[in-house]
């Protein structure tokens, strides 16, 4: 028996598409697969569907838990479920693993039919618009003409924004949370240090580590440690760790001495144990390339001129990875076009990660916005 508010036991399903998909990079996949989960019931009009887009390390398992592993909650389980802000009693919610991912959708660990070997580093660099095209095929699969809403945080929010630009007739609302209209030089710099950590790991083998029966865990661990710093806020780190030391600290050596070191190493080890290094490279590259204004001469308002969705844009005060000012760029471009948009700046100590946290006010805002979406 599932606890109240939980969608309960769930399972991932897959769908194979045999119509070719051509990426921005110029490569065509003749056949490809997406894995997804769904929660709630698609209504007869197919008008109550919500697409959840994941961020860098996310996947299709968004809510509930596998029947055989009740502890493995979906990454946004606090947001999605019966009576929750994204209410599965009203909406049919779809979580999907993006192409290039490592949770079952076609990606670097998939066998490349041309070589009979895993794609590895040869998997094409995927972009946010590529993902939108693939997600649209998934909508076709369900017979969904238009999503009631496309929702995402961080890189997921960028996909929601891209949807409204690329396929305006197929999305009625976009919830763009803790996102930015494009990365800054500083954002790209952090991503490249992470990539260099992976690529220079001797176990990386130019991205073909699968055939060597090894994994570049050291590089991936460093990449995650660095990334994790950018997800937290200085205030939160000060409060949670400060200069607290581990037992035995003060030995004038390089073992773990401060709690923050212990925490980051733990997070790095945990992540490196299961995530695919090639997927990490692809996801960071999709972030770097994201710039929907670029085809419009850098004018974001021009990029959004043809959009017909209504928007909720949310930022968090201590998010320095994608700060509130970056969300305001999106809002300003929407208002310039006289689009329907609400913008809420949530006071939170949790930095970029705040979009995943169970914050009463944040959830009340999302719930209020979702409640006004007709199905």
């Amino acid at each position: 028996m599932a606890e109240p508010g939980s969608v309960g036991p769930v399972e991932s399903r897959s769908v194979v598409f045999t119509t070719p998909l051509t990426f921005a990079a110029g490569v065509t996949l003749p056949e490809w697969q997406l894995v997804y989960e769904t929660y709630g019931t698609l209504n007869a009009e197919r008008s109550n569907a919500i697409l959840i887009c994941h961020a860098l390390s996310g996947h299709q398992h968004v809510a509930g838990y596998p029947a055989d592993n009740p502890k493995n909650l979906g990454w946004w389980d606090n947001m999605i479920g019966p009576g929750k802000p994204i209410d599965t009693d009203r909406f049919f919610v779809v979580g999907v693993n993006n192409l290039g991912g490592c949770h079952g959708s076609t990606g670097p660990a998939t066998i490349n039919p041309a070589t009979g070997q895993p794609w590895g580093a040869d998997f094409p660099v995927v972009t946010v618009p590529d993902w939108v095209q693939a997600q649209a095929r998934l909508a076709d699969h369900f017979g969904i003409d238009a999503w009631a809403a496309v929702v995402g945080g961080s890189l997921g929010g960028m996909q929601a924004l891209q949807w409204t630009i690329d396929l305006p007739a197929r999305v009625r609302h976009a919830l763009v949370i803790a996102a930015a209209p494009k990365l800054t030089a500083e954002n790209i710099a952090f991503n490249d240090v992470a990539r260099q950590a992976i690529i220079t790991d001797p176990e990386f083998h130019g991205g073909h580590f699968y055939r060597h029966g090894t994994r570049p865990t050291r590089g991936l661990r460093l990449a995650r440690m660095l990334g994790h710093i950018t997800y937290l806020s200085d205030d939160q780190m000060a409060e949670k760790f400060g200069r607290k030391k581990r037992p035995g600290a003060g030995s004038y050596g390089f073992d773990v001495e401060f709690e923050i070191e212990s925490y980051l190493r733990y997070q790095g080890d945990k992540f490196a144990g299961w995530f695919d290094a090639n997927t990490y490279l692809l996801m960071t590259k999709a972030l770097d390339y994201f710039d929907p204004a670029e085809p419009f001469g850098g004018d974001l308002a021009a990029a959004l001129a043809g959009a017909s969705a209504k928007y909720l844009v949310v930022s968090f005060t201590t998010d320095w990875r994608f700060s509130p000012a970056r969300s305001r760029e999106i809002v300003n471009a929407l208002v310039k076009n006289h689009k329907d948009v609400s913008y809420v700046e949530i006071t939170s100590p949790h930095g970029h990660d705040a979009f995943l946290m169970d914050d009463h006010y944040y959830h009340a805002v999302v719930a209020a916005y979702m409640a006004n979406i007709p199905t």
Binding site: N332, V335, H338, V341, S342, Y343, V365, A368, Y369, N372
Partner: protein, 201 residues
């Protein structure tokens, strides 16, 4: 009689709505829970609100209006020149420190602007001060120690500021404490003043 109650609470809304037409765009500064924008949406206008208070922002989202959380004291830097037909600042000017800046900003982003504020020279307010106490009234409903108001000014003061800034007064409606229109001795009998202003020259 919901409408009568509503009008009694915010009599300036009817005046403001009367100066606007369907299909026009409006930016409501300090929009609260979005009551004015709901009224205007019902009349076919397209509106956006700016509000700082988190509780009011949430209520505005619940009310289904476009609300942008922002602090007016920081200006309207995110909004383009001439972005709106109207910019409204109702009963908020007296709570702001950067008086001239916000007036200039309103007339930058809006073709014209509407400002309403409590008239400190209303006769009951004058009486209160003559009797040695700070005024508390329908339109100045706070004690001196808990008021959000930081600027105390009269209609004459406001009109003189407009003249000094080269701001043109295009229309004016003055209301008493019951929300009735005042037709004479405005600066004496008026409790709430509503101005429609534009750029000079």
């Amino acid at each position: 009689m919901t409408h009568a109650l509503h009008t009694l609470r915010r009599p300036d809304f009817d005046v403001i709505a009367g100066w606007m037409k369907a299909d026009e765009s409006v930016l409501d500064l300090g929009c609260g829970e979005g009551e004015l924008l709901q009224l205007l949406a019902g009349r076919g206008l397209r509106g956006w609100g700016v509000e700082r208070d988190p509780g009011r922002v949430l209520a505005a989202v619940e009310n289904g209006i476009n609300v942008i959380q922002s602090d007016l004291e920081a200006g309207l830097a995110g909004f383009e020149d001439d972005a709106f037909d109207h910019v409204v600042l109702s009963r908020t000017l007296q709570t702001m420190r950067h008086t001239q800046q916000i007036l200039a900003e309103m007339l930058r982003v809006g073709r014209e602007a509407v400002v309403s504020f409590p008239n400190f020279a209303y006769w009951k307010n004058r009486m209160a001060v003559l009797n040695g106490r700070m005024p508390v009234s329908e339109d100045l409903p706070y004690q001196w120690y808990d008021t959000p108001n930081v600027r105390f000014f009269t209609m004459l003061d406001f009109e003189s500021l407009c003249a000094g800034m080269g701001v043109v007064i295009r229309d004016r409606q003055v209301l008493d404490e019951r929300g009735e229109c005042v037709t004479e001795e405005h600066n004496f009998l008026g409790s709430l003043a509503v101005y429609r202003i534009g750029r000079g020259g």
